[in-house]
Subunit: 431 residues, 2 copies
Amino acid sequence: MRRLDSRAAGFEAAFANLLAAGAPDDLEVQAPVQAILSAVREHGDEALLDCTRRFDGWIPAGADDLEIPRTRLDAAVAAITPAQRSALQAAAGRVRAYHQRQRQESWQYTEADGSVLGQRVTPLDRVGVYVPGGKAAYPSSVLMNVIPAKVAGVAEIIMVSPTPGGIENPLVLAAAGIAGADRVFRIGGAQAVAALAYGTATVPAVDKIVGPGNRYVAAAKRQVFGTVGIDMIAGPSEVVIVADGSAPADWLAYDLFAQAEHDEQARSILLCPDAAYLDRVAERMAALLPGLERHAIVEAALRQHGALILTRDLVEAATLASDLAPEHLELAVADPQALLPHIRHAGAIFLGAYSPEAIGDYCAGPNHVLPTARTARFSSPLGVYDFQKRSSLIGLSAAGAAALAPLAAQLARGEGLSAHARSAECRLEQS
Amino acid sequence: MRRLDSRAAGFEAAFANLLAAGAPDDLEVQAPVQAILSAVREHGDEALLDCTRRFDGWIPAGADDLEIPRTRLDAAVAAITPAQRSALQAAAGRVRAYHQRQRQESWQYTEADGSVLGQRVTPLDRVGVYVPGGKAAYPSSVLMNVIPAKVAGVAEIIMVSPTPGGIENPLVLAAAGIAGADRVFRIGGAQAVAALAYGTATVPAVDKIVGPGNRYVAAAKRQVFGTVGIDMIAGPSEVVIVADGSAPADWLAYDLFAQAEHDEQARSILLCPDAAYLDRVAERMAALLPGLERHAIVEAALRQHGALILTRDLVEAATLASDLAPEHLELAVADPQALLPHIRHAGAIFLGAYSPEAIGDYCAGPNHVLPTARTARFSSPLGVYDFQKRSSLIGLSAAGAAALAPLAAQLARGEGLSAHARSAECRLEQS
């Protein structure tokens, strides 16, 4: 794992490199993805079946066979262990409780002349949730994507998840049942995105597609954006930890491991002004690494993308962390509130050493779908607001129209739009 | 202008056609746009100067010459007529007042075990605003894009606007001065989007790019999405009017004209259950059309994309309008509140005949940057929320961590992520 020192020559370049590595790479697969999108758009279910046979390695009996009926979801809920079931239910309850506070309400106000202005908030009609299959099939992601849409009041939630080799994941299906997905299709990749965006005879077209996926899924989402809404283009997962040395070194070692076990592209970065503590964490990581189930992945991720960074002080550590705009930021310090003013950008901020990212990933309540690859500079965790939309309300009184029409006409003529001017002014002439 | 009847055979197909025509067409220019993005990314100012010479038809003296200094903005504010200046200032004041109600505040709550959960809202650091030049250079768009960013608290707003032939638009510069743009560059097209996304020696990189543009600009925004945030891909402008026949026919004729004068792609649609009223509006349009300054554009837009639609009743008119998910929806009826429950989708809803879109375009207060081409199904007017972002806050107490760690560990093991499980569980072991 690389060690950096903020006082060393060349630090800025090395640090900038940690950032730059996160740029999206889905542009490279634009051409094959475009071909799949066109095929599904033109040939519907036929193309969807063909892609499923080719890419997912199983042979659906027909288009109907792509849907997993509600009874199979209920059966999955019944089939998992009681401990798993109650953990999923408890997590769903906490996620629901947090997200209920995110609901936005309509508002309006009346001006002195009787004109009414406002903003109306309504849920989306139908939403598609993409859930990756295969090695990264996460039931927790089902909860995190479906529940905010439910809380927003979305009328119909369509979940898609590929079943490589035709093998269903009972925990994923149980999570879909518990979270309340309305319909579930076992399709994936760019073809699933296309089916959701354009609709086929079997898969209904949705208004927005959310959920993480590989770069084919990301490229497909980018290309259908505009036809439907999308959430964000997800990159590799990251954790940045700011530590003051007050937490047991083992805790941070496991937090860095937890991030790194996702895949070889995951990034685990620790910033701390205490060199001896960094040594201790490094030692504990070396000692604990061999005991990890996924130690090969962890080792590769840490070697390629991990960093222990010595800083001048805690404020510099916090400032550097904020510049990284990380997906997850742990403030493993005695007084996290004191550092908060130095944090401008982060997807989720974990306050204090009793708040490991791993608990946030599953059941603290906030969403685990977070902006990656520095996009926390401009985007937000997935939330209820992603499933609500706003309409402006403009209800002018006769007096309001009379007061504003000359203003509007003046500005419209300045733009050469005289029909706009007349449209405003005619409200003055007749009444 | 075409006439449709909701009771006629073939209506559904004809109506669906009104919708389908709005699909985004920027995918066709992906390749040339990709070349421009790469050139600016690799060669910075040099590529920017080259593109400006080639596409905007003027020769900058050097990279510094691309910036319009603050003094020229102030000079523009002084140079326009007092009527124009006070109209811009009054419009800016109303837009600011409305948008101040959109600011979102941070919140948090404490659970029984002392754990704190919340959502922190902060402004973006730096935002780029694209303002089209040439025939669609609209000072009102400057106000509508810059003011919400200012209200959100964005520290630096970079405006770009091309000056074809090197000619500056004094009203656009004055609007930039009045709205409070921090820096203004006279660049446009895909090259301006690239400069804002990647930064050059002269143009600073921003975190998000907003504002309408032609299909090169739209394609460029789509491609840089992820590196920076973007607002939306704007399509042709639309108005849909639901009328009960209570408003003077001239008013609606001008409202339909106002939309159609934007360009040949603009869509003006009137829905009404009263055939005689539709006849009257058609008559008045025929009579008034020749007197319009932009009658050729209006005539072309109405012929290609306009429609007068006879409906069974007002509720059907409202329902069909909602299915169109229009950018602008005028409810030119005596009781607009009665129809509101039937409207699920619209960018802006104008209540009653005294609320023409034209006043909303300039000075009612709500934003005129609205979702087009049916995207109101899933997106919202440009607003302060587009310039704010959220971070989740998770501060668990020792008791909170102890309660949640077993839950998280159970779910993590179900996903094969045992380092996640250990990261949660180690909080139980030591303390």
